[in-house]
């Protein structure tokens, strides 16, 4: 039943996308715009598959940078937000800094990292970590602070230590926020790695993109964009899956509500 409704809901957007693709394909077939500006969707798909063997190693590099940076950012975000939450002075000192740092566009400081850390994996990983750090930290901070005062008091009145308070109450109740932060960051991580690679490097989707761009292989540029999009979506899907597994109480909700006998 639910599936049926889902399908019905998807009919409109899918037909819309199909319409766009058909128009796009016709425009390209009629040579209204030159191929190096707008290659046909079919050409992009064909190019995607024929270049897959070459693309594979670039994908792996980008994915590796994104995942390593992502994991590092999670560790740091957990660490920093717990410290900020438990020591109000630290929170007040750091919070404005974290917010302000977000207004600096990553693309403008990426070259700096190349100067400082060279053209290896490190600067890319740092950029990914920086990009991912903010959404996770902010959502964690909100989650940690949103715990009901009465609940904290109750558990305190049972003699819980500060560590127990975090373990039993604060961290679990910050989970929904934490996961929404993860979902945002997870999708950013691929883009972050690509931006890092634009500045220079040997491998990675960003490097590949620059290379095919300078030879006007626009179909390959599009193919790379598709791959980056798919990777980002993949991250989102995986995180959503882990979220469902990690928070069964949210998803079991409507199973049944028992009444008093």
């Amino acid at each position: 039943m639910k599936r049926l409704v889902n399908i019905r809901e998807q009919v409109v957007p899918i037909s819309f996308i199909a319409a766009i693709l058909i128009i796009w394909e016709s425009v390209a077939a009629l040579q209204i715009v030159p191929t190096y500006i707008l290659p046909a969707p079919t050409k992009i798909i064909i190019s995607l598959f024929t270049n897959l063997p070459v693309l594979k190693e670039h994908i792996l590099v980008t994915l590796m940078e994104a995942l390593v940076g992502f994991v590092i950012s999670i560790v740091f975000a957990l660490f920093i937000s717990i410290i900020m939450d438990s020591i109000p002075v630290v929170r007040r000192a750091i919070y404005p800094l974290i917010i302000t740092s977000q207004t600096v566009p990553m693309i403008t400081i990426a070259p700096l990292f190349a100067i400082w850390f060279g053209f290896g994996y490190l600067p890319k990983i740092i950029i990914v970590a920086l990009v991912c750090f903010f959404p996770i930290t902010i959502s964690l901070l909100e989650g940690l602070a949103s715990v009901e005062e009465d609940l904290l008091n109750l558990i305190k009145s049972m003699g819980a230590s500060k560590v127990q308070l975090y373990k039993i109450i604060k961290l679990p109740s910050a989970m929904p926020g934490f996961f929404s932060g993860l979902k945002i960051s997870g999708t950013y991580s691929i883009t972050g790695a690509t931006i890092g690679e634009w500045v220079g490097g040997k491998k990675g989707l960003g490097v590949y993109m620059l290379r095919v761009k300078s030879s006007f292989a626009t179909d390959k540029v599009f193919a790379t964009i598709i791959i980056i999009t798919l990777l980002s979506l993949g991250m989102l899907k995986i995180i959503s899956y882990i979220e469902r597994k990690a928070m069964p109480w949210v998803h079991d909700k409507n199973n049944m509500v028992w009444e008093d006998e």
Binding site: E148, D150, L151, N153, L154, I155, K156, S157, M158, G159, A160, Q164, I168, I169, P172, S173, M175, M247, P248, W249, V250, D252, K253, N255, M256, V257, W258, E259, D260, E261
Partner: protein, 244 residues
């Protein structure tokens, strides 16, 4: 024997004088209710007895010892069930035992012994949001009970329930009270509920709160629906209504 004694408790929050001068005592295995207008400081008094809040003046004695500002002795239950949505009922009620350093196995075993008495048989693995309001309150009560069996502070535990569930819960509490071996302090603003359940009722005034009067409810147990039409019940109810 006096389990809990509050002596001349005073508490203000800045300009807000909540408790002016409150003295009360809870004898062993007695059920004592506090009845007073909303905002007069009843919950504050519970926070003071449980050690979460320090009084400006006065003393809290538990089993004859001074307990001002010391948490971890009495159990405390709120109007909100305050169950953790991410833990199943068994894990929820086990929390106090885990906090006391008991192993998971041991805590499970101890907690399970009471599931029948608390009407929670078969719901060990359910999450709180799968249970009805009355069941959640029973789970919350069980959690409090497992923390400290001898002294329990219940702060309007049935205040958030619908009338029918509330009535059922009152009967249920009355029945299990005989098996609990607890001394209970019970906050309510429902006069019928206070008389029906209690051995003794303290009437508090509005802020700054003092004890207006103490009623002894000399109605034998077990009590049932007929209690509500008992002569003594009606006499006390009239007196309380006149006071408020």
């Amino acid at each position: 024997m006096k389990k809990v004694e509050a002596i001349n408790i005073k508490k203000s929050f800045g300009q807000l004088h909540t408790l002016e001068d409150i003295s009360l005592s809870l004898e062993e295995n007695r059920f004592v209710s506090l009845l007073g207008p909303s905002g007069c400081g009843k919950s504050t008094l519970f926070n003071i007895i449980s050690g979460l809040t320090l009084p400006d003046r006065g003393e809290i004695l538990i089993d004859g010892e001074v307990y001002n500002g010391k948490t971890g002795r009495v159990s405390y239950m709120h109007q909100k069930d305050l169950l953790l949505p991410w833990k199943n009922i068994l894990s929820n009620v086990m929390i106090p035992l885990i906090l006391k350093g008991e192993s998971k196995n041991q805590a499970e075993k101890k907690a399970l012994e009471y599931f029948h008495l608390f009407g929670l048989d078969g719901f060990e693995k359910n999450y709180p949001n799968q249970l009805s309001g009355g069941m959640r309150q029973r789970a919350s009560l069980l959690r409090a009970y497992l923390f400290s069996k001898d002294i329990m502070l219940l702060d309007e535990p049935f205040g958030g329930l619908d009338a029918i569930t509330k009535r059922k819960m009152q009967h249920w509490l009355l029945e299990v009270f005989n098996n609990l071996n607890s001394s209970i302090l019970f906050i309510t603003h429902d006069i019928d509920e206070a008389i029906f359940l209690s051995d003794e009722i303290y009437i508090l005034s509005k802020r700054p709160a003092v004890v207006k009067k103490v009623f002894q409810v000399n109605i034998g147990r077990p009590r049932d629906d007929n209690t509500f039409t008992n002569v003594e019940f009606i006499r006390i109810k009239k007196e309380i209504l006149n006071l408020l």
